[in-house]
Amino acid sequence: MKKTVTQHHKNVNENPCNMCMPMGGILPFKGIEGSMVIMHGSQGCSTYMRRHMAEHYNEPIDVGSSSLNEKGTVYGGEKNLKTGLQNIIKVYQPKLIGVLTTCLAETIGEDVERITADFKKEHSDLSAKIVPCATPGYGGTQFEGYFLTLKQILKHLTKPSESHDKINIIVPNISPADIREIKRILQVMEIAHTIFPDYSDTLDRPYERPYKKIPDGGTTIADIVKMSGAKATIQFAAMVDDELSPGLFLKEKYGIELHNIPIPTGLESTDIFLHTLSSISGKEIPQTIQQERGRLLDCMIDSHKYNAEGNAVIYGEPEQVYAITKACLENGIIPKVVATGSKTTKLKAALQPMIEQLDMGIEIVQETDFSVIRSLSVKHHVNLAIGHSDGRYLTEQEGIPLVRHGFPIHDRVGGQRLLSVGYTGTTMLLDRLTNTLLENKYNQYRTKMYKEYYEKNFLIGS
C-alpha cells in the first residue's frame, strides 16, 4: 500500500474524535442545583452543544448565549453578556450561573472575570452566584474543558470550612446511571459524601408534572462550599493533568487528602475504589457488594473464552479510554488500538507497563482523528470497537461492530442509562462487549467457513 500522508503527523483533522472545551464546561454546571449556563460567543456554539447533549441525554438542555453579532465582535461583547445574564436571571431565576467563553470571545479578548465582577457590583441585589470560566474552543477538548470548569467552580465557591465527615467524590464525564450507581454504593456502605458534579437526576430526570425549567437535583451549593472541610477526596481522574485537577486544588488549598483513582469500571479499578472507601471510612466492604463482586467474577469466567477472540479499538476521552482498556485487558480482550483526540501525557505512561507484558503490538495514539483510528483498526484486524457514536462509521465502512460507550451517543437511545461502573455496572458492560463479539461471530462463521474450506477447495475451475 502506498503511504500518502504520514498518519500521525498530519495537519488536517479528518473526522474529529473529540469536541471542544466549552462543551465540556456545560456538563459540570448541569450537575449543580439551580444552575444555568451562558456561553459568551456567537449563537451557534450553544445551539450545537445543546443539540448534542439533548440527543445524548434525551433531556431539554437550556444553555444561553450572549449571541454576539458583528457589532459585539468589533466593539466588545460586554453589553451582550450583561443583557444575556439579566435575561437568564429574569426567566430562570437560577442560583448559580456559569459563564463559559468560546473561541470568539477569547480571540477578541473578552475578560469575563472582570465583566461578571462588574455585573455583580451593578446588581447588589443579585442572589445568584456567577462562575466565569475561560474555555476557548481551540484551547483543548471537552475533556480539559470539563475538569477546568470543575476546578474553576471550586475556586469560586469553596470557603474555608470546619472539618466534617463527608468524602468528596469528583466524577468525570460518566453517565447519570453511573453516578447513581456510585451513590448507591456509598449509601450501602453508609458513607457521607458530596458527589461533584451530580447530574444523575438533572440529566436523567423522571417524567413529572408540572415541567420544571431547571430540574431538581444536582450538588447543592452549600455542599460545594464545604468541600474544603471534607474527610478526603476521591477523584476519578487518573488521566487528568495536575494543573486541571480539582482534587489537587482542594488538597493544595485546604489540605484535603486526595485519592486520584481510575473510573471504577472493571474488577481491579472497582476494587481500588472500594478499598479506598474502606480505608478512608474504616468500614468493611459489605456482604452485598462482595456478592456483586462474586457475580462479576462469575460473569468474567462465563465469557472469558469468547473475549479471548476480541481485538478491540477503544477511543474517546482519556479517562474513559483508560478505564475501558483496563477492563478489556483483565478480560482477555486485546486493546489493539487505544486512541483519544485529547492531548495527554498520562495515558501512554499508565498503559505501557500492562501492554508491554502482552507483547502484542498495541498502538496508543493521542490528538488523533477517525481517519487514523480507522486505518489502524483495519491494520490490526480489529473486531470490536468501544466508544461514542462518532465511531459508527467503523461499522458502516469497515464492518467493525461498535459497543456504544461514553459521550456523545446520538444515534441510539439511552446514553444516559448506560451503566458501566462498580461490579454490577462492569458486569453489564462486559455482557455488552461479549455479546457483541458473539453476535458478530455467529453472523459470520457460516460464510467464513464456507469460503475458507469449501469455496477455495472445491469450486476452483468449476
Binding site: N11, N13, Y211
Partner: protein, 462 residues
C-alpha cells in the same frame, strides 16, 4: 398596537414584538433580527447555514477552517443520500489551536489543502470560515486562489464566520459559493475590454430544470425526479441533494429553476435569472395539495399538452393509491391540536397546509429564520387565535403549547425532549430524518408519523 398579553411576567421584554396572535393584532410579527442575548434562542450560526446547504455536494471536500468544534458538531449532519461519491460525509478541519490564532492560520490552511489534495485528488474543495477566522483576518480568498492554481482544481472559500448574522446569512454565503462554482471558466467570461460579463453561449436544454432547495434527505430528491421523469421533464441538477462537481457545472443549461426550500435558495434563483436568464418558480412537494399544484405548475410552464396530460395521469394514479390510507389516519387524528417550531418559513407554511389536509388544528407556529413575506403567508393560513412567533425559546414554546392545549409539536432535535417532558407527541422534521416527507408517499409517511406519536399508548400512562 397591542402585542400578545403574556401571562408569564418573566417573559423577556425585547421578545414581545416577536410574538403575536392571529386576529388579535394588525401588526405583523417582527423577524429577521439578531437573537436577544440570553433568550436561549434555538437558532444556529452563519457557518451552520452554509454548511447545511453545501454539505450534500457529494464529491466535494468540505474543509472547515477553524477550531475543531465546528467540524465536530457538523460531521455528516444531514441525512442526504448519494448515488455517487461518499466524500461529503467526512468532516475535515484545520483544527486551529492557540498558536494558529495568535500567528494566523493561513499557513496551516495551505498545508492542510496540500495534504487533502495529495490524499484524495479532489476536483472541488469548499473552505468554510468560522468565527475566529473572521476575527483574526486570515485571507481565505488568497490562500484558496493560490492553492487552486497550484493544483488546477477549484477551491472555493465560503465566507461563513459565525457571528456575521444568523443562519440565513450562511445560506447566502453558500449560494455565493455555488454561483462561483457554476460560473463558466474565467476566459469565457472575459469581454473585449477585459471585464467579466454575462456568459453569452450557454446552450439551453429544453424541458430541463434545476431543482433548488432539496437536499435529498431520505431520497426526497429522487422521488421528485421520478415524478418529473414520468411526465417528461428532466431534472438537470439538484441544489444540492446528490449533486456533484460535474452536474453542478451544467446548471446554467436548464430552462427553468424550481425552488423548494425558499429560505436557502431564493437568492441563488434570482441571481441565476439575472446571470443565466433562467426563470424560477416556487414549488413545494410537501403535502398532497402542494405536490399536486407543484406538478401542475411545472407542467403548465412548458406549455405542452402531452406533459400536462401525463401530469394529470400521475396525480390521479397517486391519489388513488394513497386515498384510503390517508382517510384512515385523518379519522384517527380528529380533534388533534398541533404546534410547529421549525427552521425556515417554507417548512412552516407547508406544515400548516399539511395539517389542514389531515384535519389537525395548528395552535402555534414559529420559525428560527422565517422572512417577512413568509410570516405574511403563515398569518394568512393560520386560524384565529394561533400564536405566531419568531426565534422562540424553550420558555415561550412551553408556555404557548401549554396555554393552547397542543397535543403535538413538530420541530428539531433540541425541541424533542421538551415536547416529551411536557407529555406531548413529537414529529422530527430535521436534517437527519430517515423517511421521506416529500411527494405523495411523503404525505402518507407524514400522516403515519403523526399517528404513531399522537395515538401512542404511552400517553395513557402520563
Amino acid at each position: 398596537m397591542e402585542q400578545l398579553a403574556l401571562k408569564d411576567p418573566k417573559v423577556i421584554e425585547e421578545r414581545k414584538e416577536f410574538i403575536s396572535t392571529k386576529g388579535a393584532q394588525k401588526q405583523q410579527v417582527k423577524c429577521d433580527e439578531d437573537s436577544v442575548a440570553g433568550s436561549i434562542s434555538q437558532r444556529a450560526c452563519v457557518f451552520c447555514g452554509a454548511r447545511v446547504v453545501l454539505n450534500p455536494i457529494t464529491d466535494a471536500i468540505h474543509l472547515v477552517h477553524g477550531p475543531i468544534g465546528c467540524a465536530s458538531y457538523t460531521w455528516d449532519i444531514r441525512g442526504s443520500l448519494t448515488s455517487g461519491s461518499n466524500h461529503y460525509r467526512n468532516s475535515f478541519s484545520t483544527d486551529m489551536k492557540e498558536k494558529d490564532v495568535i500567528f494566523g492560520g493561513e499557513k496551516k490552511l495551505a498545508i492542510v489543502i496540500d495534504e487533502l489534495v495529495e490524499k484524495y485528488k479532489p476536483k472541488l474543495i469548499f473552505v468554510y470560515s468560522t468565527c475566529i477566522v473572521g476575527v483574526i483576518g486570515d485571507d481565505l480568498e488568497a490562500v484558496c486562489k493560490k492553492q487552486a492554481q497550484k493544483y488546477n482544481i477549484e477551491i472555493i472559500p465560503v465566507q461563513s464566520s459565525g457571528f456575521i448574522g444568523n443562519k440565513s446569512a450562511g445560506y447566502r454565503a453558500a449560494c455565493d459559493a455555488l454561483l462561483r462554482l457554476i460560473a463558466p471558466a474565467p476566459q469565457e467570461q472575459l469581454t473585449n475590454n477585459g471585464e467579466t460579463s454575462q456568459p453569452k453561449e450557454v446552450k439551453k436544454k429544453s424541458k430541463t430544470i434545476n431543482y433548488l432547495g432539496d437536499f435529498n434527505l431520505a431520497a426526497e430528491a429522487w422521488i421528485i425526479k421520478n415524478y418529473l421523469k414520468e411526465i417528461g421533464v428532466e431534472i438537470n441538477v439538484t441544489f444540492t441533494g446528490d449533486s456533484d462537481y460535474v452536474s453542478l457545472k451544467k446548471a446554467p443549461e436548464a430552462s427553468l429553476n424550481i425552488i423548494q426550500c425558499a429560505g436557502s435558495m431564493t437568492y441563488l434563483a434570482k441571481k441565476m435569472e439575472e446571470i443565466y436568464d433562467i426563470p424560477f418558480i416556487h414549488i413545494s412537494f410537501l403535502g398532497i395539495e402542494d405536490t399536486k399544484e407543484s406538478i401542475r405548475k411545472i407542467a403548465r410552464f412548458f406549455n405542452d399538452p402531452e406533459i400536462e396530460q401525463k401530469a394529470e395521469q400521475l396525480i390521479a394514479r397517486e391519489l388513488k393509491t394513497i386515498e384510503s390510507q390517508l382517510d384512515w389516519y385523518k379519522q384517527k387524528l380528529q380533534g388533534t391540536k398541533a404546534a410547529i417550531y421549525v427552521g425556515g418559513g417554507f417548512k412552516a407554511i407547508s406544515l400548516l397546509k399539511q395539517f389542514k389536509e389531515l384535519g389537525v388544528e395548528v395552535v402555534m407556529v414559529g420559525t428560527q429564520t422565517g422572512r417577512k413575506e413568509e410570516y405574511q403567508t403563515i398569518s394568512e393560513l393560520a386560524t384565529e387565535g394561533t400564536v405566531i412567533l419568531d426565534d422562540a425559546n424553550p420558555t415561550e414554546l412551553e408556555q404557548f403549547m401549554t396555554e393552547k392545549g397542543a397535543d403535538l409539536l413538530v420541530g428539531g432535535v433540541k425541541e424533542r425532549p421538551l415536547a416529551y417532558k411536557l407529555g406531548l407527541a413529537f414529529i422530527d422534521h430535521n436534517h437527519d430524518r430517515k423517511h421521506p416527507l416529500s411527494g405523495f408517499v411523503g404525505a402518507v409517511n407524514f400522516a403515519k408519523e403523526v399517528y404513531s406519536t399522537v395515538c401512542s399508548p404511552v400517553w395513557k400512562y402520563v
